[in-house]
Chain length 123, copies 2
Amino acid sequence: MYGHNGRVTTHPAPSPTQTDDCRPSLTVSPLSLDDAQDFARIFKAVADPTRLRLVSLVAAHEQQEACVCDLTEPVGLGQPTVSHHLKILVDAGVLHREKRGIWSYYSLEADTLNRLSAFLSPE
Amino acid sequence: MYGHNGRVTTHPAPSPTQTDDCRPSLTVSPLSLDDAQDFARIFKAVADPTRLRLVSLVAAHEQQEACVCDLTEPVGLGQPTVSHHLKILVDAGVLHREKRGIWSYYSLEADTLNRLSAFLSPE
């Protein structure tokens, strides 16, 4: 669902109308089991203090992208551990990974964050 | 929408200014460890398909509140299991519990959902 190919997803960012009309919301009607499992999987990826800090560090980094070498020192963890956390965030569609040369660069998946935010909004 | 009868919370909903100025955001600046731990704790509570369905069932129920007896059948689980999940949601501040007579009634903590939604919004 969140697969990428050179920053192209199969689910383009929705218009506000699409968000209001089609996307599941936690507070509008009872969730289907499929939707509940889908959102629980993404929330599980962000339900960790280190992973939340990694997302915020990527967002605050120059051009809103960072490589693992930029992230190890701020979170005080080694590269293998940070890479493990980043993989979980990429697999959940919260971060996007792009390989350039010998480094992978991570950036936000704004569509996923918008989707989570709209899902939780009680308005 | 959430200020129904008998529903007094200790956390009034913030004004938009408070949300913009004072509350942590995932994408505005690097999160402190305290904020990361605080939000990770709440996300952990909702990172479960059954608990997400329980929240959505409470929201969709008459007057946006429900007792455990209203919730067991829709999720197909026994009362002790449902009560366990509801306790996790109450402890995380996602649901509010109010005892009336022999039953406890659960309703949404709109302030917590607004806080999570604003935290995740990349805009």
